[in-house]
Symmetry: C2
Subunit: 347 residues, 2 copies
DNA sequence: CTGAAAGCGCTTACAG
DNA sequence: CTGAAAGCGCTTACAG
């Protein structure tokens, strides 16, 4: 019987009718069990579950979609970056949660800045028939996109957003605290002139990281000097040009904290160009612990974010919401940790 | 009329029935036009096409899948790497082709080595109901996977495979020629002791790149010295350990060609560790022109591969095959090009 | 707690 | 060259 079932499974697919027949119930009852609906006697439920696993039954998504109101599809809308390490983790986390939840993940890579932003998302959401959307930073902070999804009644979850939206799913990490810790670490190594390169202002992490830097300076009685702070956009090139500005100062910083690893790589690049030894002449710190952090020389002291876990959590919460389950938003942010490597030293 | 149509489109979706009504034909005729089937009078075809664009009609995939024999889904099976730059390009190329062809792309990231390899692919192919599969290197060279897909009658296309399979879609680039060119470049810069770090033997590019190196040595009358050749696995760490071996030689190489950028980054790392100046004391060459190639110091002379274009081409060919169109496999490999940066210099 | 019927929007197989 | 009918495998809405 089992063999026959397996054989059948490998030929034409097992359907709800086969399960119903084996369990001796109607297809509606099988449907109730599959969808974890109430109003099925426990003994019936057990019998159906056994039939399902015996036949290795999996519901046909196309049929579900066609007859029901769900699509079992989640869209991931992201800025397609040159350096993909952050997105790789987001992708892996979202993929894991989708697989576990029986959803399919569809991708929409976008170039920023983008005048067609809203219409691209609209076309994606409509044509791909999405149930929900994941918005990793900085996509979560475009109010037009949020408004569009609200209008289409498509729930969304945001990863590391800048602003809060009441009642909306979002996951964050303790960026400010982590930035404080790493700044404190640098101060305790004896540095007093500490440069800071800010990230892309569109990203939620940018201000938080900057605030952590300022708080640490304050707590350790170092004067905040705006000449030591430069704007950046999270790109390697922006790290280079910010560093060049810092190097022009008469009283050059002895340490530079860049708001991500790519920019820190730019700092190291410029130091090499000017014959400065890192860390002897200059300590350099990054954020994110991307692959380049350990592959560059000297390897970077940086702050590790649990991005994959954050993405997985955001996606899982979104799926629960789509199922109509009660979800409790996480009250604790995810924890970052300082990773110490050779790019920093005591002064 | 038009406005009414648009209004309707935004509410409940436009169906084949609406199009048929507007064009004054049966739904079957609309279906023929949508699927580019023959046996429709030209004037009828035009009328239907107009109705389609007027109503902004898009066929419901779920309905197509449920009634037909296609799923409109392509799977991308890949080794989930630490350094994602190669896969990022593959992903973008495949995504672009799928979008253009009306297919959905599903991802299966895999860890290698993997004992469950075949069953993971089988579950993916069966449960996700795939029409076709894209296999970027090294996934295209597992004969068990190829056999499985043949058995399931799921066509697949391979990117940069090692071996040929008759009548199968695959795209390659002129790795050997590019490796020859870059080796020639190094020789012409006056180097005679040129180290070579091989890639992962599972990858098709590995032997080709090695062969290009050997051919160039031969053509320029340099003796091949097996002590100058080390094994690697395309990882940063393997580049480091191979470089350490090369540095131990009494007659140290003055240039090292690594079979990809990550390993070349490892070479640069080790050079820094030993206080060797790149390029004054050692020229370093990579392959792939990934982001790290331009972000490391000194920036790497490397070989650029048009990976995105290759992936797009492979996917487009696969989609054509799935549609039953006649496809001609590309007879010319894609062209790589040498990118010269500061990690190499004249001796 | 359980089920019979209708229908989702297409394609297939067939008829003309 | 065109179309009427059946049916894909589920869920919805309703009945009991």
């Amino acid at each position: 019987m089992v063999d026959q079932a397996k054989k059948k499974a490998s030929k034409s697919a097992v359907t709800i009718v086969d399960v119903a027949a084996l369990a001796g119930v109607s297809i509606k009852t099988v449907s109730r069990v599959v969808n974890s609906e109430p109003n099925v006697r426990q003994s019936t439920r057990t019998r159906v579950s056994q039939a399902i696993s015996e036949l290795n039954y999996r519901p046909n998504t196309a049929a579900r979609v066609l007859s029901g109101k769900r699509f079992y599809v989640i869209g991931l809308v992201y800025e397609n970056p040159n350096e993909f390490s952050y997105m790789k983790d987001v992708l892996n986390g979202a993929l894991k949660a989708c697989e576990a939840g029986g959803y399919t993940l569809l991708l929409l890579p976008l170039t920023l800045p983008n005048k067609e932003l809203v219409s691209e998302v609209q076309i994606f959401a409509t044509q791909s028939r999405l149930d929900g959307v994941i918005l990793p930073a900085p996509m979560g902070d475009y109010s037009e996109i949020n408004a569009l999804l609200d209008e289409l009644e498509i729930p969304f979850a945001r990863i590391a957003p800048k602003t809060d939206i009441a009642d909306n799913i979002s996951v964050v990490c303790n960026d400010e605290e982590a930035s404080y810790s790493v700044t404190k670490f640098v101060i305790e190594q004896g540095h007093t002139r500490i440069g800071f390169i800010k990230g892309d202002p569109e990203h939620g992490a940018t201000d938080k990281r900057f605030n952590g830097y300022k708080s640490a300076l304050k707590d350790f009685k170092l004067k905040y000097d705006s000449k030591l702070v430069c704007d950046g956009q999270f790109s390697f090139e922006s790290g280079k040009s910010a560093t060049r500005k810092l190097f022009k100062l008469t009283d050059r910083p002895t340490a530079i904290i860049a708001s991500n690893d790519d920019m820190a790589a730019g700092t190291i690049y410029e130091a090499h160009e000017r014959g400065l030894n890192v860390p002897n002449d200059l300590s350099v710190i990054g954020f994110d612990d991307t692959p380049i952090a350990s592959q560059i020389w000297p390897p970077l002291t940086t702050v590790r974010q649990p991005i994959m876990e954050m993405a997985e959590s955001a996606t899982t919460l979104l799926i629960r919401k789509l199922r109509g389950e009660n979800i409790e938003l996480p009250d604790e942010p995810f924890k970052c940790s300082v990773v110490t490597r050779a790019s920093t030293m005591h002064r």
